[in-house]
């Protein structure tokens, strides 16, 4: 299948590595107007404009790896030209963007559209999901997540398009936190109640650098999340509390390794005959060596295309639902009166 990658930054380059390993995909073009001469791959055509790339190559598959502002228009154009689309997260700057994409997707039901929620395919998450689905630890009671980074070098981070609301549409929650929200849904299903606090606590940017989110679904499962661009130590941690134990995913296999060795901790609630272990149960720690999440997602897309199967993983519905959560946090955080106030604290307010 002829393939084009639109946007050849960090994510575009990762996608190229995956495409190059897949015999079903042949990379025929890369589009990025900001590529320096040394960065242009020699083994495929280079384009400045995504329309020109799609019109010229007539690809079967388009990977959209651009900043959020450009994502919806490119997805829509690719679909309208009859291309299957793989789109990085987030699916645009706001809820309206993903709704626009879905509207066009509906006109072309034979085309496949998948989004880059690759964290579902990280090995520790896959293993944790297997534990939950098997049911040996009982049902999920709650989940708790922390996902954050240090931002980066001051000027570089503050000048990044990711912190320009006109291009990104939001801050750390939309950029990185969206993965954790997707994982909450992955494990617990839909959440209907959302509470959020946003702050721009450190960086001189116009979007949030910290978000604190509290969610609850109809089963009464509560999820708590801290998304941050001021965690000076890169951190990924997802805790899942179950009736008969707990699961903790910590660290994340990444290109730089800065999130630490990916591991899953499995703890089991001690039995009544294990007094010594009460409050300090035995744990197993599973360490993982290889991140296959990128490959698995691409293979799933190819599988859906080849066998004309519906996209059920990281679909446009998944993208819509998680953008609804982000949107709800952004809306809720702006409406102070929606939250109950503490009487003593209220008196101290100006």
């Amino acid at each position: 299948m002829k393939t084009v990658i639109i946007g050849y930054g960090y994510m575009g380059q990762i996608r190229k590595q995956v495409v190059d390993t897949m015999p079903e995909l042949k990379l025929c073009g890369i589009c990025d107007p900001f590529l320096g001469p040394g960065l242009i791959p020699v083994d495929c055509a280079h384009y400045q404009d995504y329309r020109e790339a799609i019109d010229d190559v007539r690809p079967d598959v388009v990977f959209v790896c651009t900043p959020n502002r450009y994502t919806p228009d490119i997805c829509i154009y690719a679909l309208e030209q009859g291309c299957h689309v793989f789109c990085e997260k987030p699916p645009g700057r706001n809820l309206n963007d993903i709704q626009r994409i879905i509207e066009v997707e509906g006109k072309y039901p034979h085309l496949k559209l998948m989004f880059g929620f690759n964290h579902r395919h990280h090995p520790a998450i896959v293993e944790a999901k297997s534990f939950v689905d098997a049911g040996r630890l009982g049902r999920i009671l709650w989940t708790r997540g922390v996902y954050g980074k240090s931002g980066g070098r001051d000027r570089e981070f503050e000048g990044s398009w990711r912190n320009d609301p006109d291009i990104s549409g939001g801050g750390i929650l939309l950029d990185q936190g969206i993965h954790m929200l997707d994982l909450f849904r992955f494990f617990c299903g839909e959440f209907h109640e959302v509470y959020g606090f946003l702050s721009t606590a450190y960086w001189n940017v116009s979007v949030e650098d910290n978000a604190f989110v509290l969610l609850r679904n109809e089963q009464g499962q509560v999820a708590q999340f801290h998304s941050s661009a001021t965690l000076w130590k890169h951190t990924f941690r997802l805790e899942i509390g179950l009736e008969r134990g707990y699961l903790i995913v910590e660290g994340l296999l990444s290109k730089t390794g800065s999130y630490g060795r990916e591991k899953l901790i499995i703890g089991r609630k001690p039995g009544d005959d294990e007094h010594a272990a009460l409050g300090n149960p035995r744990e197993e720690i599973v360490y993982f060596d290889t991140d296959v999440s990128w490959d698995l997602q691409a293979r799933e897309l190819v599988n859906c295309i080849t066998h004309n199967l519906p996209v059920t993983d990281s679909s446009s519905l998944d993208a819509l639902r998680v953008m609804e959560m982000v949107d709800a946090v952004y809306r809720q955080a702006k409406v102070r009166s929606a939250a109950a106030s503490v009487p003593g604290g209220e008196r101290r307010l100006p």
Binding site: P123, F131, A134, R282, E283, I285, V286, Y287, D289
Partner: protein, 341 residues
């Protein structure tokens, strides 16, 4: 690939009472000399890990020569007795009877709770993850009666299990469990029992005469996508590297093959298995070294090792054992392998 670290409060003493072990070792040495060395059937073999024939003798135990492979550094007995002689040894020797009748009953409850219950739990988790539809399991290792018991206790809809080891009829005597068939079967005939979803080879790779034949049989017996779960002792592990020929864990005929990590990987790759898990969740390495130093304080132990295990507190000891697990450096190896689909 993944690796597992286990936090478990278990002392080797609890599953291996040393006073009894002295007697067991004495009997084993006598049996080896009487039954295996005099049989006149010992045959040389290449490295069971990488198949290299370049090796050198490194030590001798009970009259048997241990060689170290020049390529993958596995240690193995060569020349060695054939499988039939080993089966006869495990069925009829005084040491094997002593092990079954004296040592195993004495440690049964501890082994059940601290070894086989977690192992069954792990096994069921592996199945949940990779083969939830499992219908048939083949058990080839020795002393799996408690494991099978725990599996049937923990999982009401357990796969049908066929226990095939050469002394299964003795080990499972008087035991009737639904869905468990006892059928001692030679390695060459195992494939007739398939296609199986899961092949359990715990504590057998180190003691079988022909590892290559066993793994070929596992591959032939398994259905496509079926799982091979194995455990063994590896010479790459901390206690065996430190203690070497002084290790009480190295003795024939139970330890004919002490494959290195590299040897194990070569072996399973050659047989076409995909490695899903390679862990060394051993808990006895540091304890074994401590005990050896206590027993022979004047021996030329590495100074740092002696210092750590003799002078530092239990927290440091536990931390060292955990480090060995985390970096696959304990001598107890556990693997999950998958036959290609």
């Amino acid at each position: 690939m993944k690796t597992v670290v286990i936090d478990r409060d278990l002392l080797e003493l609890e599953i291996k009472p040393y006073a009894r072990l002295e007697e067991y070792r004495r009997l084993t040495e006598e049996d080896v000399r009487e039954r295996l060395l005099t049989a006149g059937e010992l045959k040389p073999c290449p490295c069971p890990g990488c198949r290299s024939s370049a090796s050198r003798m490194v030590f001798e135990k009970s009259g048997m020569c241990y060689r170290e492979c020049d390529d993958c550094r596995s240690v193995y007995v060569s020349p060695r007795p054939p499988e039939e002689a080993l089966v006869d040894f495990y069925r009829n020797s005084r040491s094997a009877c002593f092990w079954r009748e004296q040592i195993l009953p004495e440690t049964e409850e501890t082994r059940r709770e601290k070894v086989f219950r977690p192992r069954a739990q792990w096994l069921l988790n592996v199945l949940d993850r990779y083969r939830p539809e499992a219908r048939l399991g083949i058990v080839v290792g020795y002393h799996n009666d408690l494991l099978v018991e725990e599996l049937t206790r923990q999982e009401s809809h357990l796969f049908h299990t066929i226990v095939t080891n050469a002394i299964a009829d003795i080990e499972f005597r008087g035991s009737k469990r639904p869905n468990v068939t006892i059928r001692p079967t030679p390695v060459s005939a195992l494939s007739s029992l398939g296609p199986a979803d899961i092949f359990l080879a715990f504590d057998i790779l180190d003691r079988c005469a022909d590892v290559e034949a066993l793994l070929s049989a596992a591959r032939a017996t398994l259905a496509p996508g079926g799982l091979l779960l194995a455990s063994t002792i590896s010479i790459s592990g901390f206690d065996l590297q430190v203690l070497w020929d002084r290790s009480e864990s190295i003795y024939p005929p139970e330890r004919l093959n002490l494959l290195s990590t590299e040897g194990l990987i070569a072996l399973f790759e050659r047989q076409g298995f995909e490695t899903l898990e390679f862990s060394t969740p051993g808990v006895f390495d540091v304890e074994a070294v401590q005990r050896a130093i206590d027993k022979e304080p004047e021996a030329p132990w590495p100074r740092f090792i002696r210092y750590v295990v003799k002078e530092r507190d239990q927290d440091a000891i536990n931390g060292l054992q955990e480090y060995l697990q985390k970096y696959r450096l304990s001598s107890f190896v556990r693997m999950v392998l998958r036959k290609p689909r």
